[in-house]
Amino acid sequence: MTRPALRDAALALAGFLVLAILPLITSSSALIDFVIRCAALGLFATSLNLLVGYGGMVSFGHGLFFGMGAYSFGILMQRTGMPIPLAVLLTLCISALVALVVGAICVRLKEIYFAFVTLAFQMLVHSMIIAWVPVTGGDQGLRGGIPRPAFLGINLSDQKQLYLFSAALLVLGLLAMRHIVSSPFGYALRMVRDNATRAGFLGINVYRTRLTAFVLAGAFASLGGVIMSLFVSGAYPEFAFWTMSGEAVFIVMLGGTANFLGPLVGTGILLLLNDFVTRTAEHHGLVLGSVILLFALGLRKGLLDFVMEWLAARRTRDAATPAPVAVKGTST
């Protein structure tokens, strides 16, 4: 392994250890729930940023894959009772396959058309979930709970163990995506985002690069859906509704697209806002709207991007011999 790869792995391990120790310090169930929801939405939002930040493809239909993950996993567990790891793996494959079909049509399209056609596919899947009552439970959602046979001594019916499981999936999922954006493919994706024509002249297959990103993003989004379905013990049509995609876009905007962990930070902010505001304020739409405006008009970028740029600017100012510091506006 190269040095940056080792560093990422070490950071991931440290992150996991912190999360693992947390319940030993405080046994607040609110905190545990918060982290599990962070894991689900954080994976979902980070996967969207593979498209938005690294690929320059703003999808408004990414919720499709979040819902796909929750429903596939839930249905597989309810109907077959297979081991959980196998169901997770199968869910990833199913979502990747669906993403391949949807992506094959969408990634050819230019910005606004891409956004709308992904949205259209999401609405199609949403109506299928509503209509296909015998399998999906229709607008009532997938109910009756999700069976959780123990595997490797892990019992996900126990909230603490579900917490650890979610934290592990989050960390592994993030590490995998980090690896993807740091690979030669990740850089080809950035080139396609910046200048697809030129990338083509350099021998990069623009279509295949975009499609690969779309498939990977779909698979990781579904992993978020898996965690969510375990958390709520079911699956609901809202998971595949356009508001879910909107939420992910919002999270990415809040946290920032230029730094890998931006969407995770955004997830934390949104969940805190949601919990805090809905509990205390009557007009929570107003508060959320104001926060969006503050970020969009005030910072003009996500929080993590803002902080990192501020730090970089400070470093240049402090440096005796000013080295050229790259202040980047897009995912690096």
């Binding site: 993807i180 740091s182 030669p184 850089y187 080139m191 021998g203 295949r208 790259a326």
Partner: protein, 250 residues
């Protein structure tokens, strides 16, 4: 040798390339001049495969290029830089070259390893050095000066180890000082690399000074070809281009 025979490309009623027949000797340096809209960029677009000619032949060392896909034409050895520097704004100079070399080595799809691959470093470094951007390799492409962006664009073409290098107005939009810096680099590249270089240029001082051989296009046709001396004194060229446009272009 790059041979073009009876090349035709029309956009609606406009014959942007109108029966062009030209030859560029191996390892020659040639300037293409002509008024705005003469079809110079369109001509390059056909040579590089960006657009397909309506009819005619393009042969590089005897091999036909017409109808091949861009990637294939690149692989046969035709590299190009663009009239408006075509770069990757959010990557540093070094990242750009490393990623380009990685694509050239057909590693662009690799997910399993970290970027950059060790095998890409030497070639990328070589290309950066060839255009003189070594000291600026950590700068974000978007923050480079105009001239340096054009040089980076040229470096990207060099990554592909072209036998023919097509430069569309390498000095467009630059001040006099930067112009000469860029064109000196181009001249140096040509001398060192022994490749066929064809460049489009509006600045007549530059053209007459560095190009041993010149082709003049006007309304999609070849108006004249020859040495600087022959072109300077050609009545048709003076009428169509030099007389009216020299002032504007300089």
């Amino acid at each position: 040798m790059l041979e073009i025979r009876n090349l035709v490309k029309a956009f609606g009623g406009v014959r942007a390339t109108d029966d062009v027949t030209l030859t560029f000797e191996t390892a020659s340096l040639t300037a293409i001049i002509g008024p705005n809209g003469a079809g110079k960029s369109t001509f390059f677009n056909q040579l590089s495969g960006a657009i397909r000619p309506d009819s005619g032949e393009i042969r590089l060392d005897g091999q036909n290029l017409v109808g091949l896909r861009i990637g294939e034409i690149v692989r046969r050895g035709v590299g190009r830089a663009f009239q408006v520097a075509s770069i990757f704004p959010s990557l540093t100079v070094e990242e750009t070259l490393l990623a380009a070399v990685s694509a050239h080595h057909r590693h662009a799809g690799r997910l399993g390893t970290r970027f950059p691959l060790a095998s890409t470093r030497a070639h990328a470094g070589h290309c950066v050095a060839m255009v003189g951007l070594h000291d600026k390799r950590h700068i974000l492409s978007a923050n480079l000066s105009h001239g340096d962006q054009k040089l980076l664009d040229i470096a990207l073409a060099l990554v592909l180890e072209p036998r023919v290098l097509l430069l569309d107005e390498p000095t467009a939009g630059m001040g006099p000082e930067e112009r000469w810096r860029v064109i000196d680099k181009v001249h140096e590249l040509w001398e060192r690399q022994k490749m066929t270089v064809v460049f489009i240029e509006h600045d007549m001082d530059i053209v007459f000074k560095i190009a041993p051989s010149i082709r003049v296009l006007s309304y999609g046709r070849v108006l004249a070809e020859g040495t600087p001396q022959q072109i300077r004194t050609n009545p048709a060229v003076i009428e169509a281009y030099l007389g009216s446009e020299h002032e504007v272009a300089a």
